[in-house]
């Protein structure tokens, strides 16, 4: 996995949370993961297809999502599953939107799919490229997890062709 594809997502996530919450944030944990992703709270999965392909998962505990929502709305919101889902979706959209803006302006062309919310007990991910960068961002509202798996499309095609040639 190439760091130049991952870095915009890390920078965007850090900036989005710091700016949205008007408070400093900190990346407290960064690791590689090759397992199927195990959700920690309510997770939004956004798929990307084009010159670069992969997926990003933003994962927050429901109580963290409510704290973020209350802070951004400027008043306590009624606690509900819908508010939690909307908050996770909106945060994921902001992180992805800011990241893809950077990548798009570098000349990459790709399509970003709407966030899919996962709140069940099953794992996420699977598929061909499950190697992912996992990071935890500490915010004043609680911990936020980001799981990023991203590849150049031409590299994947070349790898797949190489495997096919070996068969």
């Amino acid at each position: 996995m190439r760091m130049e594809l991952i870095q915009p997502f890390i920078n965007a996530a850090d900036a989005v949370f710091a700016e949205s919450l008007q408070a400093p944030t900190r990346i407290v944990d960064l690791s590689m993961d090759e397992e199927t992703y195990r959700r920690k709270g309510v997770a939004a999965l956004i798929a990307i297809k084009g010159d670069i392909e992969g997926r990003v998962i933003l994962d927050l505990a429901p109580e963290v999502a409510m704290r973020v929502a209350n802070q951004l709305a400027g008043a306590p919101l009624p606690e509900s599953e819908q508010v939690v889902r909307e908050t996770v979706c909106e945060l994921a959209n902001m992180v992805i939107g800011n990241s893809v803006t950077l990548l798009n302006d570098q000349g990459f062309r790709f399509k970003v799919f709407p966030p899919e919310i996962h709140a069940n007990e099953e794992g996420l991910g699977g598929g061909v490229d499950t190697e992912a960068m996992v990071l935890c961002i500490e915010t004043p509202c609680g911990e936020v997890y980001l799981n990023i798996s991203m590849h150049y499309l031409h590299r994947r095609r070349r790898d797949q062709n190489a495997v096919a040639a070996l068969d």
């Binding site: 909106e90 959209n93 803006t101």
Partner: protein, 150 residues
């Protein structure tokens, strides 16, 4: 919390806004800022079709319009509103701020663009400009407001 001088219409009445975003949470965030600027929320909509109907009903001074929404996206809604009301002042508010998106919105008649997460001070300056309240900003280029420089 940062204080802002109230943005008023030429008749000294509060500026009336229509806030369009499919996320209630995002609308509340914008409404909080509008209140900080001394504005009045005349209406809300969660998709482009409702936004057009609401525009015709309330004739707001400013529309804050998300791009990605169900039923009808923001850029198409802008095109339809501007076709009927050439004087409509619409500011696009979106997470995705790359050039093609901005150009498409401006070509359809939007007046400006601000990227989420919206900073109150950035939105305030854009609204001043769009309302024609800041003569110094009249020749300012359309910036990628909210763009990160980290």
């Amino acid at each position: 919390m940062q204080q802002f001088q109230a943005l008023l219409r030429k008749d000294q009445q509060p500026v009336r806004y229509l806030v369009v975003d499919d996320s209630v949470f995002a609308r509340k965030n914008l409404i909080k800022m509008i209140e900080l600027f001394g504005g009045e929320v005349a209406g809300e909509a969660g998709d482009g079709l409702t936004a057009i109907a609401e525009y015709n009903r309330i004739r707001p001074d400013i529309v804050l319009m998300d791009i990605t929404m169900p039923q009808m996206e923001g850029i198409e809604a802008v095109e339809r509103i501007v076709r009927q009301h050439a004087d409509a002042r619409i500011v696009m508010v979106s997470s995705v701020g790359y050039q093609e998106n901005i150009l498409a919105a401006l070509q359809k008649g939007a007046k400006h663009f601000v990227q989420k997460p919206v900073k109150p001070e950035v939105l305030y300056e854009i609204l001043r400009y769009v309302l024609g309240d800041d003569p110094n900003a009249a020749g300012a280029p359309v910036a990628l407001a909210g763009e990160h420089h980290s």
